[in-house]
Assembly symmetry: C5
Homo-oligomer: 354 residues x 5
C-alpha cells in the first residue's frame, strides 16, 4: 500500500517482463477464492493452491477468480504461465506503482485500478488492483485482504439483480462500479476532514501544525486525483472499443460508470480548490491573531508609558520644583492621570480596538 511513500524503488535495468512486487513484502497472506456461476447455479470455493483453479477452465459458466496478496509473485507467474499471459502484463499486476490503465490483448482485457481507503490511523491507503477479463472469466488481483466487493459476493450468492444472468463483462463492470462507488464514500470522509479543518480555522482553533495538516490534505487529494483521473480514460476507452469482451447489453452500464467517474473527478477538483483556499484562510487567521496581540500591547503601552513619564517627572530630585510643595499637587496629578487614562480608553474605543 502506498500510504507513506508512494514512489518506490525498482531496480534499474531489471529485465522487462520480470514480476517484481515493490510494496510491503509482509503485506498479506495468499488468499484465493472462486465463484463459478450461471443463471441457475453457483459454486463458491476457497482454494489453497493456484493449481486448483485449472479445474474451472472447462466450465462454460462465468468464473470469477479473486487472488489477494501481490507479494506472492510466484503464484502470479504460475497463473500467467498457465493461461499464457504476456510477461509485461504480469509485471504490471505485481507493480503497485502502475497507474490505472487498460490494455487490450487478443485473448483478454487487462484493467488496472486503485482501491482507496483511510487506515485506522486516518492515513490514506492506495491498494493496487488488476482485472484480467476473458470471454467467460474475470481474474482479480488484489494487493492485500479487505476489499469493497462483499455486496457483489452477496448478490452472486442470492442471485438478486441481473448479475447472474449476464456475462463476464458485466462482472467486470460490477467490480469497477464497486471501486468507484467506494470513491464516493472516501471523498465524503475526506470532505469531512476538510470541513473540520475549515471549522477549526473559522473558530480560530488552530495550532502550529495546521499548515502541516493542510499540506497533508493537499498530498492526499493529489494521490486521490492520481488514482481517479486516469480512470476516465480507461472507461472511455472501454466505451469506444469494439471488443468481443464487452457486449452491447453491458455498454449502457459502462456509460453510467463513466458518469460516476466524472462526478468523482469533479468533487476531487472542488476539494482541491477548497484546500488551496484553506491555506489563505489560515494565513489571515494568523495575521488576525497577530493584530490582536499587537493591539493589547499597544493599548497597554500607549496608556501607561505617558503616565509613567509623568510619575517620573515628579520623582526628579531638583531642589526647585514648585509643584512638589503644593498641598494638592498629588491629588490633582491623580486626577490628570485618570483623565488621560479614560481619554485614551475612549480613543481606542472609537478606533474599534476595544
Amino acid at each position: 500500500m502506498g500510504s507513506e511513500n508512494f514512489f518506490r524503488k525498482k531496480d534499474i535495468g531489471s529485465i522487462p517482463g520480470t514480476v517484481v512486487y515493490v510494496g510491503d513484502k509482509s503485506a498479506s497472506d495468499l488468499y484465493i477464492e472462486v465463484f463459478d456461476y450461471n443463471e441457475e447455479d453457483l459454486v463458491e470455493k476457497e482454494l489453497k493452491n493456484i493449481t486448483e483453479v485449472w479445474e474451472f477452465d472447462t466450465s462454460s459458466n462465468v468464473t470469477w477468480i479473486n487472488i489477494n496478496g501481490l507479494s506472492h509473485v510466484e503464484t502470479i507467474e504460475q497463473i500467467g504461465k498457465h493461461y499464457n499471459w504476456h510477461p509485461l502484463m504480469l509485471e504490471d499486476i505485481a507493480n503497485t506503482r502502475q497507474r490505472p490503465k487498460i490494455d487490450e490483448y487478443e485473448e483478454y482485457l487487462y484493467v488496472v485500478l486503485k482501491m482507496l481507503y483511510f487506515t485506522h490511523e486516518g492515513a490514506l491507503a492506495v491498494e493496487h488492483i488488476s482485472f484480467v477479463v476473458g470471454e467467460d472469466y474475470v481474474v482479480s488481483f488484489q494487493e492485500m485482504d479487505g476489499d469493497v466487493f462483499s455486496e457483489i459476493r452477496e448478490r452472486l450468492r442470492s442471485g438478486k439483480g441481473r448479475i447472474r444472468k449476464m456475462n463476464a463483462d458485466y462482472l467486470l463492470y460490477s467490480l469497477m462500479d464497486a471501486v468507484v462507488d467506494n470513491y464516493f464514500n472516501l471523498i465524503e470522509v475526506f470532505g469531512d476532514k476538510v470541513e473540520e479543518l475549515e471549522d477549526d480555522l473559522f473558530e480560530d482553533n488552530t495550532h502550529e501544525d495546521t499548515a502541516y495538516e493542510i499540506q497533508v490534505l493537499k498530498k492526499e487529494i493529489l494521490q486521490i486525483r492520481r488514482a481517479v483521473f486516469p480512470l476516465r480514460d480507461v472507461v472511455n476507452r472501454i466505451e469506444k472499443m469494439e471488443s468481443k469482451f464487452v457486449t452491447d447489453k453491458t455498454m449502457i452500464f459502462i456509460k453510467d460508470l463513466y458518469d460516476h467517474i466524472i462526478q468523482v473527478s469533479e468533487n476531487v477538483d472542488i476539494y482541491r480548490e477548497m484546500i488551496w483556499g484553506l491555506m489563505d484562510m489560515y494565513m489571515t487567521t494568523i495575521s488576525n491573531r497577530m493584530n490582536e496581540v499587537m493591539k493589547v500591547l499597544t493599548i497597554i503601552a500607549t496608556i501607561f508609558i505617558p503616565l509613567t513619564f509623568i510619575a517620573g517627572i515628579y520623582g526628579m530630585n531638583f531642589e526647585f520644583m514648585p509643584e512638589l510643595k503644593y498641598k494638592y499637587s498629588y491629588f490633582i496629578l491623580w486626577g490628570v492621570m485618570i483623565l488621560i487614562f479614560f481619554g485614551l480608553l475612549y480613543y481606542f474605543k472609537r478606533k474599534k480596538w476595544l
Copy 2:
C-alpha cells in the same frame, strides 16, 4: 437539496438500476399536475395518484406531467414501469447527486438539470430536476415543491406566445430556458453578496469571519459552476443531435439557450476571479490595520521612552549632581522635553505617520 453537504452517501454496491433517493427524506409531499394542450384546448389537472396519468396516454395533444417529490421513489418506479423506461434512468431521476447530462434513448430523451436558489437563510440550495421527453409528452421530476415555471404555466393557460402551437420539444426548451433564466437572477443576487463584501473590505469594515465568508462564497461559486458548466455540453449535444424529438423549428431557440448558458458561465468565471481577488484585498486590509496599530505604538513609545529616561536621570540620588541645585534646572528641563516632544512630532509628520 444540497445546500449543506453536497456529496452524500450512497450504499456501496447497491444493484445498478435501483431507485434510491439520497436527499432529505422528509423533503416534500408528492404533488402531480398535468397540462394537456394543443393550439385550441388546454386541460389542467392536479392528480392524487400517478395511475391517473395513464388516461392521457391516448391523447394526441402535448402532455406535460410535472411530479414534485423525489423521495416518493415508488411513484417513480410505477411510472417507469408503465412507460417501460430504462432502470438506470429511473436511478438517475432519484439520484440528486447526478450531474447535469443528457441521455438519448430510442423512445425518449432524458435531461438532468439543477435548479439553484438561495434559501431564506441565504444559503445556496441545489434542486435536482429531470425531464423525460417523448414525441408528445414531457415528464418533469422535481426534488420538491417550488419552481421557476409559474410563468410557463401562465403562458400555457393564456395561450400567449407560440408555446401552445409548438411541440413537446418547445416545451422542453421553455422549461430549460426558465431554469437558465433563473441562473441570471441567482448570479445577480450572488454578485450583490460579492460586491457587499467588497465594499466592506473597502470601508475597512471587516471582522474575524471575513475570511470564512470569502471561503463560503468560493464554495458557492464552485457549486454554481458545477450546476451550470455541464449544461453547455447538454445543450450543445441537443444542437448537434439528429433526433425526432427535436424539430427544426425549435432548433433556433436551442441555439439561443446555448448563448444564454455561455453568458451565465462567463459571469460565473468572472465572479470566481473576483472572489479570489477578495482574499488578497482582505490580506492587505489586515496588514494595513496592523501597520496602523504599530504606528500608534511606535509614536507613543518613541516620544515618551527618551523623555522618561531624562526624568529618570534626575531622579537619581547621587550626592553630586550639580544640575539639581541650580534654580532654573527644572524649567529648562521642561523646555528641553517640550522641544523633543514637538521635534519628534514633526519628524513623524514628515514621515507621514501622522
Copy 3:
C-alpha cells in the same frame, strides 16, 4: 451602459422573442441617420421616423442605417416587422446583456459587438452595438449617442479610400474595424492607469484604497476581456463561412481585422498578468513599511530601555549604595551611558537598520 452593474435582471419566463431593453431607460433619445451611396453619389439624411427608411428599400446603392437609442424598443419592433427579421434577433438587439456573437440567417447576417470607453468619471462603460447586414444594406443599432464612426462618415462623404467602391460587407468591416481600433486606444488609456498605479507603488505613494483600486482594475480588465475575446470567434467565423454577404475582395481585410483582435487580446492578457503582479507589489510595500516602523521602535526602545534601567538603579533609596557618595559617579555614569548610546548606534549601523 454596463459601467456599474454589468449583470442585470431580466424577467424570468418572458416569452422568447420579446424585445426588452434592460439598460438605463432614460439613456438616449432616438436618432436615425441614413447614408445611401455608390461610387458616384451619396445621400446623407437624418430621419425623424423609422418609416422614412422604407423609401431606401428600392435603392440599388449600399445603404447604411444607423439607429441610436435601444430603449426605443417599438422602433426596433417596427423595423424588424418591416424587414421580417427573426424575433430572437430583435430580442438580442435590445438585450444589452448579449455577448458578442454572429448569427447567420438566410437573408442577413447578425453581428453583436461591444463598444468600450471610459466615462468622464474614469469608469469603464460598455455600449451594446448590433449590425444587421444584407446584400446591399447595413443597419447598426447603438445603445446611445456617441460612437467611433465619425472617421467612416468622413470617408463616405469625401469618397476617399475604397469604401464607396465596395459593397455592404466592406462597410461592415469598416465599422467593426473602427470598434476594434478603438480598443487599442482604450487599452492604452487603461495601460496608463496601470502604470500610474505601478509608479505609485514604486514611489511608496500608496494609501488604504490602493487594494481597492487594484481590484477595480481587475474588474475592468475582466470586462474588457469579456467584450474582446468572443470577437475572435466572431471574426474567425466570418473568415470561415461561405456567405453571399461576404465577398472575396473583403476577405483579406477581415483577416487583417482578425490579426488586430488577436493583438488586442494579447495586450489584455498581458495587462491582466501585470495587475495580478501589482497586488504582490502592494503587499511587499506594506510589509516594507511595517518593517520601517518596527525598526524605529526597536532602535529607540533598545537604546533607551537599558539606559532608563541604569538611571532607575541609582534612583533607588537604599541606605547603603557606595556609588551614590562618590563625587564623580554622576559624570562617570553619563560617560557610560553615552558609550552605550553610541555603541548601540554603531551596532544598528552595522546591521544596516540605520
Copy 4:
C-alpha cells in the same frame, strides 16, 4: 522600438492599407543595401535611393535587399508600388505594433518577426522586422540600424557554407535563424539578471525597489514571450505549407529552426515560473527581517522592563520599607538582577532567538 510603452496609439479609423509608422519618428536614417549573388558571383552595394533597386529586377541571381528605417514610409510605398505589393502588407511593414505572423500571397511570402536586445541602459528593446520573399529575392525591412545579420553578410561574401548555393528560401531561413539564435543570447543575459536578483535575495541584499525590479522582470519576460511564442505558429505554417517559395532542400533547416524556437519558448516559460517564485522569496525575506527586528526588541524589552520595575520598587519613598535599611540589600539586589539577566539570556538561547 518598444522598450518603454509597447502599446502605442494609431489614429482611429485611418483608411485600411495606409502606411503609418507608429514608432519613434527620429529613430533612424534610411539605409539601403543590396546583395545580389549566385554560387560564383556576389555584388554588394549600398544604395542612396530606393529606385536604384529596380536595376536588380532582371537579375536571375538571388537578391537580398535590406532596408533600415521604417520611419521612411514613402520609401516603403515606392517599393510596394513598384513590385505591386498589397497595401495591407505595406501597412504591416511599417506598423511596429504588428505581432509576428506569416501571410501567403500569390507572388510572395510575408513574414514579420521581432528582434530583441537590451539597450545600453539595460532596458529591453523590441525591433520590428519584416521579410518579403519572392522566388529569387528577399527584401528585409528593419525598424532601425543595427542587426544580427553581420555573420550572414560575412558568409555571403566569403561563400562559406551552403548559403551561396541555395535559393532565396534558404536566405530567409538564415535570416530567421539569426534572429532566433539571438534570442538564446538574450535569454541568457535575461537569465543572468534573474539569477543576480535571486542571489541578492539569498544574501538578504535587498532594498525597497526589489519588488519593482521583479515587476520589471515580469514585464520583460511577458514582452519576450509576446515576440517568441507567435513564431512557433509562423515556422510551423512554413513547414506545413506547400509553396513554391520553400524548397524541399530547405525544409529540413526549417524543421531545425522550429526545434530552436520550441527551446527558446521553454526557456522563456521556465524563467517566467522562476520570476514568480522570486516574489515569494522576497516576501519571506521581508518577513524574516521583520522577525529579526522584533526579536531584538523583544529580547531587550523582556530583559530590562522587569529589571527596571525592580529598580522602580526600591525607588519608592514609603517610610516603612525594611529592605532599604538593610546593609547588603543593594548588593543582593544586584545579584538578583544579574541572575534574572542571565536566566533570560539562557531562556532566549534555548528558544534559539539568540
Copy 5:
C-alpha cells in the same frame, strides 16, 4: 552537464550543421566501446580510435557502439562522414542544449534524451545523450563517462532475457528504458529532499536559507520536467510511426515504456505542486514564529509596564502623599502588584497566549 547554468551561449550565425560542443570543454576523455552480438555470439571491445569501428560495418550482427565524450567533436564529424549522416543531426549530437526529440531519416532514426542524476554535492546534473539507430546498429553518444547502462551490458554478456535474441530496435528500447527507470530513482531521491524540507518546516526547524532551498527545488523540478516531458512525444511518435527500424515485437515494450514515462511525468507534477505548497507552509511558519515573539513581548510588557507605573507613582517626591506615611502601604502595594501580576497571567492563560 547543465547543473549550473542550463542556458548556454552559442555563437550567433554559426553555419547550420556546424558541430559545436557548448558544454564543459574539459569534461571527459574520449571512450569508445563496441558490443557486436547475435543470439549465439558476443564481441565486446574497447576502441582507441573511431576508425576501428568501420570493421564492424560488414557484420550482420547487432552492433552497439557507445561513445563517451561529446567534447571530441572531430570524432563525431568522422563517424558522421563515414556513415553519411546529416550535418544537422551531427550538430544536435554535440549540442547539449538540444531538448529530447526524435528525427526520422531515411536510413536511420535519431533520438535525443537527457540522463539525470545528482552530483556528489547534491546538485542536479543533466547529461545529453543521443542514439542513432539503423537496421542492425545503435550508436550512442554520451556527454561524459558514467551511465545507467551497466545492467544492460551485464545482460548482453550473460545472454539473459530476450535482448540477445532481438534486433537493434529492442536495444534502443532497453537503453531508453534504463534512462527512464533511472528517472524513477532520481525522483525518489528528489522526493526525499522535498519531504526532508517538509519535515524541517513541520518541526519549525527552518533558517534564513529555507526560501532559497525551496527556490532551488523549484528550479530542479523545472529542469527535470524539461527533460522528462518532451519524452512523451518522442515515445508516442515511435509508437505511431511505421518504420522499418521498429518491429512489431518491440512495439509492446515501447508501449510499456510510454506508460512509465507518463508515470514519471505525473510524479514530477505532483512534486511540483507539493513544492509550491512548501512556500506557503514556510510563510505560515515565519508568521507563527513572529506571533510567538510578539506574544512574549506583549506579555512581559503588559505585566510590567503598569507595575512600573505604580512604583513610579510612589517614587514621586510630593510633600503631601498620605500613603507614604502609612505603615503598611509598602506591603499592601506588594499585595496589589502581585494580584495584578496573577490577574494578567490568568487573562493571558484564558486567551491561550500561554
